[in-house]
């Protein structure tokens, strides 16, 4: 199963991950990122760099996997690719603290 971006990204959007992706599979919305599950090759390079651990292998989500893959697929179709880092959202630090990281 591919990796997906979970809701933890919302209001953070640190974008530490995007330049590491060898296949440019990240897509950016105003509030967060998504992974195109068709493009992801499961190299997992993005996982350790996310400050809020928002990226997970869909396999580990068990029952929620299909739903999150579908959401990531859907949004990736609508949104542009992001392949270089941008500034985190102004709300990022607060959100990160709230998530306990």
């Amino acid at each position: 199963m591919p990796h997906v971006v979970t809701d933890s990204c919302t209001a953070c959007r640190y974008t530490e991950c995007v330049a590491l992706c060898p296949v440019d599979c990240f897509h950016a919305a105003e509030d967060r990122l998504y992974i195109d599950p068709e493009a992801c090759i499961d190299c997992a390079a993005c996982v350790p760099v996310c400050p809020v651990k928002a990226i997970v292998d869909a396999f580990d989500l068990e029952s929620r996997a299909d739903e999150l893959i579908a959401l990531n697929r859907q949004r990736s179709r609508e949104l542009p690719v992001i392949d270089s880092k941008t500034a985190a959202l102004p709300t990022a630090e607060a959100r990160r603290a709230a998530l306990g990281y």
Binding site: M1, P22, I41, C43, A44, D57
Partner: protein
């Protein structure tokens, strides 16, 4: 020597798998257990990335089905019933049985069988060679992967590392030929991608639609096994249209005039008829390849897997010289950069210990060798399998099962898991995973040495391959201290540290950063053959190959270092088209006996059969599928998700049909790696694979395979 292992640490590791990328890994240890792995972000080639196989390597280490103790068979062969015994008992049994066999039939009645389940200087390709050469066992010719392409490549350009993989970033035109980069060589992709982003054009030649072909500017789909016609027609066009770099050809090649006359027959129209690719497209490809300099060709392992695969590589290896691609960084051919490493093959194989005249058995013939269909005197009485799972990777699955079931065959298997092959063992020995052992890796996909340090103690009573052969040497009474060399000694003594490519590289450096690039110029200035200097007999690119005079051969690297008793059958000195043997596919209508051509490529999340017993990887790959084109599916009343039986005279298996454009008309695609024990009809695609070898270097012909499909 006992290594002190930290309870909590990040240990520098290296992926052990048979993959060109040889990734540098960080292994996280907490409370003496591996809690996770990640790519080493500092490694300039692998760049912090792993892959769908290894990103959770700890699940392999602690898999509940690991083989952890020596075991003796307690049920019928193949049943998988075993009982635990001690190492002492296991080793004593092996010694006793082997001595009796040697006494009765001589040591050649023993056959080692191995390849690259684990790579590495210490525990990989050659780990058992000194032992079996000393024992006098039958020599195993291991032409699993790239041997055919290597013979062709060496005949043409010599054992050169070829272009620096990283220099692909500077290419203006890239052809990935028979290579699904994103699944099987993914760490090369960023360099290709960089070139693309700087305007390079990417052409992918592959009958199958893959993640990689989706990235291409142009995806060409030749009928399986006809690529030789395409390559030769490219040569034809380049010569006829005056696109040749005359200066380079004059100074650095031999045989141009003969080649020029020889390829007159290989017109684009001829190639169009063979491949199904439009003649005008072939002309444009040849022109673009010749004129967009520097141009690069990356060939994948799959390229050799049909009747004429060797001659195809001969033709491709002529192309860069014809257009002068070697002149600049980013130009040339990338096959096996392995030849860059100053490996002391003599010390690794110890071919000097082999008994002159010892017979050789090609490992693709195991089924025939065990069942008497290969005339052998003496017959094989004992089989020793390590680093391999022949029941899933070798052809002739049914016959192989019969052979392994022989009551009079004494089979020992060293394994991490109860594989399909392991089920047939009389004795099963537990093998370590990479985090439980030390090793130093060269690579066949980049120019870095990568160190693997042990992170945790061996699980259960597992031992590394190197330790296994130390124990076997003791049991067999080999008193030469060479057979008791420590891992550390093997690791240090097997490279020529004085070689120019090793200058500036030390164990200290490797311990500190986990890797070291060979001392070669940086990729943006490195053009190894700008001024010729090819390691062939003539020192030039041999379009007309002088080595053809000796007939067909397998490089000693793939046969325990042994050079004797080569095949020697005639080889054309000029690249010559040889059509596929089975996959003629002119008529894919149902009713023709075996009208469809089957290919069985590597699965994205499996490494051959490794990981096909892991839930995570199975979740991505699901069960055995067969990709079919709608044209062929409709003609057979097959819809997506139907169960289908795929068959030919050699065997059959059952798969779930997936109908779509992934497979071209006339071709069916069955990704490989799934285990027999968990398959629906107790058979996998290897059951249908032909045993006939390709034209050069003992390559298999698994992409030259005619089958029929029906609803199950």
């Amino acid at each position: 020597m006992t290594t002190m292992l930290a309870q909590d640490a990040t240990v520098l590791g290296a992926c052990p798998h048979d993959c060109p990328d040889t990734c540098s890994m960080l292994v996280k240890v907490a409370n003496g257990k591996v809690t996770g792995v990640q790519g080493n972000p500092a490694h300039p080639f692998t760049q912090g990335r792993l892959c769908a196989k290894t990103s959770h390597y700890q699940e392999r280490v602690y898999h509940p089905e690991r083989v952890l103790y020596p075991m003796r068979r307690s049920g019928p062969k193949g049943s998988g019933q075993f009982e635990r015994i001690s190492w002492d008992e296991a080793l004593a049994t092996i010694g006793e049985r082997w001595r009796a066999i040697i006494k009765a039939d001589g040591p050649t009645a023993i056959l080692p069988y191995s390849y690259l389940g684990t790579q590495g200087i210490v525990n990989g390709l050659t780990v058992g060679d000194p032992f079996f050469n000393q024992l006098g066992a039958t020599i195993s010719e291991r032409t699993f992967c790239d041997s055919g392409a290597s013979t062709a490549y060496v005949m043409t350009v010599g054992p050169t590392p070829g272009m620096d993989p990283e220099s692909l970033a500077h290419s203006r035109f890239i052809i990935l030929w028979a290579c699904n980069l994103l699944s099987t060589n993914a760490h090369l992709w960023p360099f290709v991608d960089q070139a693309r982003k700087q305007g390079a054009k990417l052409v992918v030649i592959d009958p199958v639609k893959t993640g990689t072909t989706a990235m291409a500017d142009l995806h060409l789909r030749p009928r399986p096994g006809t690529d030789g016609a395409l390559a030769l027609a490219m040569i034809h066009v380049i010569i006829r249209e005056g696109l040749v770099d005359r200066d380079y050809v004059d100074r650095h090649t031999i045989g141009f005039d003969e080649l020029s006359a020889h390829v007159a027959q290989y017109t684009p129209e001829f190639a169009a008829d063979e491949t199904g690719i439009d003649a005008e497209v072939i002309r444009t490809l040849a022109r673009d390849y010749a004129t967009a300099q520097p141009s690069a060709i990356r060939i994948g392992v799959a390229i050799e897997r049909s009747a004429g695969g060797g001659q195809l590589v001969r033709a491709i290896a002529c192309l860069p010289a014809l257009v002068g691609a070697w002149r600049r960084p980013g130009g040339g051919l990338l096959q096996l950069p392995l030849w860059a490493f100053p490996v002391r093959w003599d010390r690794l194989h110890r071919a000097d210990l082999a008994t002159p005249g010892t017979r050789v058995i090609n490992q693709w013939k195991l089924g025939a060798a065990l069942t008497g269909s290969l005339p052998l005197d003496p017959p094989i009485r004992a089989l020793f399998v390590y680093n391999s799972n022949p029941l899933v990777v070798a052809p002739d699955q049914l016959r192989l099962q019969q052979g392994l079931a022989r009551e009079d065959l004494f089979t020992v298997v060293s394994e991490q898991f109860m594989t399909d092959t392991a089920r047939y063992a009389d004795l099963l020995l537990p093998a370590t995973t990479q985090v439980e052992q030390d090793d130093l890796m060269f690579s066949w996909g980049h120019l870095y040495l990568t160190l693997n340090r042990q992170a945790v103690p061996p699980q259960g009573e597992a031992v590394s391959n190197a330790e296994l052969f130390r124990r076997l040497a003791t049991v067999m009474g080999f008193d030469d201290p060479f057979f008791q060399r420590s891992d550390e000694t093997i690791l240090r003594e097997s490279l020529d540290w004085d070689a120019p490519t090793m200058q500036g590289i030390s164990m200290e450096l490797l311990e500190a950063q986990g890797y070291a690039r060979l001392n070669l110029p940086a990729a943006d200035v490195f053009a190894p053959h700008a001024e010729g200097g090819f390691p062939t007999p003539s020192g030039k690119v041999e379009m007309k190959a002088s080595m053809a005079a000796g007939g067909n051969f397998v490089l000693p690297t793939f046969r325990q270092g042994y050079g004797e008793l080569q095949d020697g059958s005639p080889v054309p000195a000029l690249p010559t088209y040889q059509p596929p043997r089975e996959s003629g596919i002119r008529d894919a209508a149902p009713g023709a006996r075996h009208p469809l051509a089957m290919m069985s490529p590597k699965s994205h999340s499996f490494l051959n059969s490794s990981y096909a017993n892991h839930r995570r990887q199975l979740a991505r790959e699901s069960e055995q599928r067969l990709f079919m084109n709608p044209v062929d599916a409709d003609a057979r009343g097959i819809r997506s998700d139907d169960l289908v039986r795929v068959r030919n005279a050699r065997g059959s298996f059952v798969a779930v049909a997936k109908v779509g454009d992934d497979a071209m008309p006339g071709v069916v695609v069955a990704p490989m790696g799934y285990w027999i024990a968990s398959s629906r009809a107790k058979a996998t695609p290897a059951a249908l694979n032909p045993t006939v070898l390709g034209d050069l270097g003992g390559a298999p012909t698994f992409s030259d395979n005619a089958v029929e499909v029906e609803r199950a």
